[in-house]
Symmetry: C2
DNA sequence: ATTGAAGTTTACGTTAACGTAAATGTTAAA
DNA sequence: TTTAACATTTACGTTAACGTAAACTTCAAT
């Protein structure tokens, strides 16, 4: 039940280099514990954080933006004001994502329109071939 | 009806630098006509291509990938084989976009779940405040 | 005990996507 | 006609996100 990993475990898990993982620590995205000899120890928390990072990167967020989001969900917002700020920020982000979805859907529509025309062209060609 | 633009017209239009536009030409994304003195002339076609470029960038495509897509829709696929290839490629891209949409929607769900918890916490705090 | 794989830090190298500057030509307005 | 704003090419500079290598330590297996 208690799962800990080395740095190359994590690298394999996410299919990246150890350098990449160390780099993320270098810029403050991760802060894994160390054992007696200074070896990094990764647990469930770091695993989740890395998932967040790679998902974020996939959608064009810079590591700097991702850092903001991680820090946000990292420090538990105990104070009322902090909690409010967190909620506000979160709602803005949700709004951004919502818009991204809409734009992607319109992009998809355009592409399918294009495809439709091409398919029609192909069908015409096939017909005249006979 | 016939609309032509200078490079800084385009730069203003898309709110980027002229260097950016020249760079896109440098790597083969654009090939505007030139006038007598070598000045670049931009028309409707380039306008559309630039829209494609910036939309692509917005969703994390590299300029290299974008180049592929532009070249694809640039040369008209007159030959049957070329037409087929174009359709295949297009369908793959549509598939990619579809998956992106799905993942973004699940991301949105997660974020909203998070937000829900935070909001509940805040509500509790407000209550105990009384 | 030795060897090889994996860990550490430090530090320089690389690529994409431009920024910036120099040197020069063109155009529009005063 | 001169001046300011805009155009051109050439070329070096910059930043993010790692790659790569050196010099060293630690661990696991033979």
């Amino acid at each position: 039940m208690n799962n800990f990993y080395s740095i190359s475990d994590m690298a394999d898990m996410f299919n990246v280099s150890t350098r990449t993982i160390r780099y993320y620590e270098e810029i403050g995205l991760l802060k894994p514990e160390r054992n007696q000899n200074g070896y990094r120890i990764y647990g469930k928390k770091e695993k989740i954080q890395l998932q967040l990072i790679f998902r974020g990167k996939k959608y064009g967020f810079s590591l700097d933006e991702i850092k903001d989001m991680i820090l946000l969900f990292d420090e538990d917002p105990t104070g009322r004001e902090q909690l409010k700020k967190t909620i506000e920020y979160g709602e803005r982000k949700v709004q951004e994502v919502t818009q991204s979805i809409e734009e992607l859907m319109s992009l998809k529509n355009e592409m399918e329109k294009f495809l439709g025309e091409f398919k029609k062209m192909l069908a015409d060609l096939e017909e005249n071939k006979v």
